[in-house]
Amino acid sequence: MSISVQNISKSFKNVSAIQNISFEVKSGELFGLIGPDGAGKTTLFRTLTTLLIPNEGNAIVAGHDIIKNVKEIRNSVGYMPGKFSLYQDLTIAENLAFFATIFGTTIEENYDLIEDIYVQIEPFKNRRAGALSGGMKQKLALCCALIHKPEVLFLDEPTTGVDPVSRKEFWEMLKRLKQKGITILVSTPYMDEAVLCDRIALIQKGEILKIDTPENIVSSYKKTIYDIKTNKMHQLIEHLKKFPTHYSVFAFGEYVHYIDNNIELDLQKLKIYLEEKQHTNIIIQKATTTIEDVFMDL
């Protein structure tokens, strides 16, 4: 077990940030924390990296107690905060060299670990970090968090504010790091990234709602979801919500996702209902269930 969290709660003054959180991450696992902004992901990361002391509960990270063995944990984990936290006035090479030095290592010593990532930003190594694009900043931050060969890597929303191409590259890098035996705990507000993790925990309002593999989470969802599209998308959600047997309705890309209380929905009936409400060009089709659908239902 690389990370073992037992009943952790943390509150700030009277506001509770996370309540009674427990989960375990195996060695070499890529574990995702999926949840919207304000769900408590960052608080959980800070607690596990010894930056905050939990009010209740405890956790073991890389074999060390997060309350008692602060020093050992700080030697064996890599942490990449949500906010870009490198020195903007230092160049790529200087940032990397600095973090290598304070961890008592050198770039050469662990170069094999960061090589894949570093070669992508190496052409700009004399450029100051502040002048880099969002994707390059994240790659540099990842290099810096990896330079001391940590056992466990904490990545707090590493892809927020990064373009889709860089996001994809970033997740490919995480997969390669996983193959090198590094345990990774990553958080993201993007549901589409959830499927790239080995296992995920859905977290909302400081509580974990579900922990499983992305496949199991999707397949355990029994209801059928329909994609619906008409000429009057504005009123569509409102009208669907008035349909007697509706279960849940929410916008999903160019469609509206509609879930009915009955497992077998009479599509003809729904179509007639919508036509009565002056909708035309009605498209109703079965949708593939995604993590987001599951999340919305929790």
């Binding site: 930056l51 906010k83 936290s85 230092l90 973090f99 030095t101 304070i102």
Partner: protein
């Protein structure tokens, strides 16, 4: 040690790449010394004055000619009654009026004694003071000349009146003051800003989750500033010495020792400020309001402490700058040894220890 070196190297990068902090570090001391040095100079040249000559005789005319001949004064006009003095001053055209009493020559001849009155506009006390001194020396000179050629000695009595500010205070010496301000500014403000910058940019979070110990972070942060402050102290003292002729009568070694002590006091204050503020702006405001203003206004740098109300004089004792100014003045001007300033030195040391103690107590190794 390697970690420490790496950290200090990084700090130097920060300092040398930030043009603003570079300016504060090196531009300010030089600019301040030059500004204070040349603006608060005691030299006067071509000051406009007026003459009110009730005597209009040979003696008064000779003195007026002598004054005219000097490069210091420029006789703007002659006025004929005392009422005009006030309006001349209010116009601001002249800085002083020279008043010769009636029958000046006759009195000098018969009573061997006559009076010249010098009335100055003391809204600018330093100028007023200097004008008085210069006129005095010119008249003194004239009197001496006269006495060597005559058997009986005469005396010209000079009466001075300072208008608008009767209580003139002596000119302060600016080098100790500027040195104190600069060391305080560089050491306390710059360190508190540089530490809070790490908090604000989130890099402190990363440093905390690293094997670096808090004291290593702090020492790594302040070390470059100790170094730069020492350079600044050297620059200020040498500019004072070479450009403005400020004497250094005491031991240079003692001066260096006391300066380093004060630098450490200021740095520990800077660290303390950084432990209680979360943003660069707060740190800057705290340093400016809490340190700079007291240093400039209350430390005795510009306004003499002895003329402040008693409660304020007592309050002044908690300002480290006050003690450092006393120390520097004692060493540079009076040339005293350590035994004379042992009290001040001990007070500074005690303050430093208190600041460091409070900083350690307040320093957070976590985020809360």
């Amino acid at each position: 040690m390697k970690r420490f070196k790496g950290f200090v190297k990084k700090e130097f990068y920060h300092i040398f790449r930030d043009k603003r902090s570079l300016f504060i570090l090196f531009g300010m001391p030089i600019a301040q010394i030059l500004l204070f040095g040349f603006a608060i100079t005691n030299e006067i040249n071509n000051v406009d004055i007026a003459i009110l000559d009730y005597a209009k005789d040979a003696e008064s005319e000779k003195i007026i000619q002598k004054i005219k001949a000097s490069k210091y004064f420029n006789i703007e006009n002659q006025i004929d009654n005392e009422k005009a003095i006030e309006s001349e001053f209010k116009n601001g055209k002249i800085k002083a009026v020279l008043l010769f009493e009636r029958d000046f020559a006759k009195k000098l001849e018969n009573q061997k004694k006559a009076t010249v009155q010098v009335i100055t506009d003391a809204t600018e006390p330093n100028v007023a003071n200097t004008i008085t001194n210069y006129t005095q020396s010119i008249i003194q000179n004239y009197q001496n000349q006269k006495n060597t050629t005559q058997k009986q000695s005469v005396s010209i009595v000079m009466q001075t009146r300072m208008l608008y500010n009767a209580e003139l205070k002596s000119v302060f010496n600016f080098v100790p003051g500027v040195m104190t301000v600069i060391l305080m500014l560089v050491s306390a403000m710059m360190t508190s800003i540089s530490i809070t910058r790490e908090k604000e940019l989130g890099t402190m979070e990363v440093l905390l989750v690293s094997p670096l110990k808090p004291f290593q972070v702090i020492i790594g942060k302040v070390f470059p500033y100790v170094f730069l402050s020492i350079i600044n102290a050297v620059v200020i003292v040498s500019m004072g010495y070479f450009i403005f002729g400020m004497p250094i009568r005491g031991s240079l070694f003692l001066l260096a020792f006391e300066s380093i002590l004060f630098i450490i006091t200021a740095l520990s204050l800077g660290i303390l400020i950084s432990t209680v503020s979360n943003s660069q702006q707060t740190a800057m405001m705290l340093s400016l309001m809490g340190l700079m203003l007291p240093v400039i206004i209350l430390s005795g740098f510009i306004f003499p402490i002895s003329s402040m109300p008693l409660p304020m004089q007592i309050m002044n004792n908690i300002i480290p700058a006050k003690w450092f100014i006393i120390i520097v003045k004692s060493i540079m001007l009076k040339g005293v040894g350590i035994s004379y300033i042992i009290k001040e030195t001990l007070i500074l040391t005690l303050m430093t220890l208190i600041f460091i103690g409070l900083s350690i107590k307040n320093y957070k190794t976590r985020l809360e």
